[in-house]
Amino acid sequence: MSEAHPPGTYPAVVVGSGPGGLQASYSLSRLGIEHAVLSSDPAPGGMFRSFPFFQRLITWTKPFAPAERGSRAYGRYDWNSLVADEPAHAAPVWELMDGTSYFPSRAEMEGAMVAFAERAGVAVRYGCTWEATRREDDGGFTVVTTDGEYRCRVVVFAVGMTEAWTPPVPGLDACPHYVETAAPKAYEGKDVFIVGKRNSGFELADGLLASARRIVLGSPRPARLSVIAHSTAAARARYLQPYEDHVLGGGTLVLDAAIERVERTGSGYRVVAKGTTIPHDWTFDVDHVIAATGFATPMRDLPDLGVATFYQGGRLPAQTPYWESTTVPGIYFGGSITQGSIGLKKYGVPSNSSAVHGFRYNARVMAEHIARTHFGIQPTRRRLEAGALVPLLLSEMAGAPELWNQQSYLCRVVTASPEAGLTDEGILPLADFVDAPGRDAVGVTLETDDTGDIHPALYLRRDGTVTEQVLPGNPLLDFETAEHRAQLAAAVSWLTG
């Protein structure tokens, strides 16, 4: 057990030592907010201590990229490293990668998390399990743990979407979940039915192609592919081998089927299903069924405190644009749970808040918000000369990793007032910027439309009303052309008078 953060009273508590917890803790520390970090694990890394099952991530880190390693712009090409404000705090994943793939292995990722905790000085009380939560009369909270009680004003739960989740299909709860998949050898020569056609389902199918006799993937909705949906939430290219096998008649089946029930049959299972896109009654007798049906947030007693949840009966807490519970102020969420703050989701493209390359930026924005609203700390803001406005916005839309990785979700904001002139407000949630009242301002982000075109989008707040102005795309993704400069300058000229 670690000696850090004994039970007691702290301004804030962070629960979790995965990438979400580490990033939240680091960001709070940078703002001078004292806090305890508690984790039931014995070491940093969270889910990456065990998963993905087949030991290689689907998020890339490009060892060689158009931006210099270590620069802010490099974050667009490195989806896995946590973000540090000082070079000495950084623990970039590429340092540990062996050069065989631009997808780090699970072990390389875990190693980078351990290195970050060390270099960035994130102290965690390991082996300390969050057991219960109380809301106190003064508006604060008590976090009850196996080591004792922690009183605080603000809690950040960065506990991951880590609870195996199974839909209410009779018999499915008795089948192994993704997390209980056995080593591939166990499936040699066997018939395997995988319930679910998202990334975890395709990952298992891909990993079992060389061992299973036949693989059937079944779920009600047709598979969505990332290259069609323009989203990392859809099935990723590197897991599509089973899909190609299906399309080319190799024997793997990818079916749109509603599973009615799963029954035990001696040594195996019977899956009874109905076709959805093509009506059909199916019965499959198989050796194994695996429920690759996703995960839920371990909410423990938070719903009893009034924390609202949603998504298939409560897999996620409902959150404000700053990742605070919509119903219990002072309770925040970090890491992959932040995907519950949906944002504008323009063209149906979700944020990347379910992955490190998205949520690491959410953590910084959240820490500043917590500093401002709970501790009266005003993060430093930079004044801008009028002539610096267009160059700043232009370089942000050309290379800011927050905007590239969190399209239509985070934006760079500059406000204007007669007294203060121009102020660079940094990165903010777009959903808050477009709805909150405030000074005249411009917010810039990037978006991907239905055709797959990536382009900058401007949000102009003038006299309290926000309008949207989309700038052109570019086949080379170069948004610093003369045309972009001219359109941007014209769009924001009123801000500088």
């Binding site: 779920s219 989701k345 709805d435 926000v466």
Partner: protein, 143 residues
């Protein structure tokens, strides 16, 4: 008569909404998986006038206000849907929709609406009926 409490099971939830009343269970499951779920706190905008790339929303729980330039023109409740007009016309929405209470919605990205309605003509017919009622109301006033 008040509605029964909305179910947390997305299939049960859909089955209770008139838009999907003609669908059989397997179809409901496929539809349930086509829609995403969103939860919006009271006072926040769900649909924003003048912003492209919006979705179509079906209210599962709660109430919302439709406003044009700050003036309320309609109220929506469980089972009502919005956002479809701009998607069908390929234009930006001309109204804001703001949550009056905590609002739980089923959400279909605009780009998927055409394929969805062609796959489920019974839903398209129900939607057409709802649009006809709206047209009658705006032409003749409230029933």
């Amino acid at each position: 008569m008040s509605d029964p409490l909305p179910s947390s099971d997305p299939v049960e939830l859909l089955a209770g909404l008139s838009l999907f009343a003609d669908l059989a269970r397997p179809q409901l499951e496929a539809v349930a998986h086509s829609f995403e779920e969103e939860w919006v706190e009271a006072g926040r905008r769900v649909l924003r006038a003048g912003f492209a790339g919006n979705s179509v929303y079906v209210i599962a729980e709660g109430e919302a206000s439709v406003g044009i330039e700050g003036r309320e023109v309609n109220r929506l409740a469980r089972g009502d849907f919005f956002g479809e007009v701009s998607v069908l016309l390929g234009e930006k929405p001309f109204a804001d929709v703001t949550a009056l209470t905590p609002l739980r919605c089923l959400v279909l990205p605009g780009g998927q609406l055409q394929g969805f309605l062609l796959s489920y003509p019974a839903v398209a017919y129900r939607m057409l009926q709802a649009e006809a009622r709206r047209l009658r109301r705006t032409t003749l006033g409230p029933e």
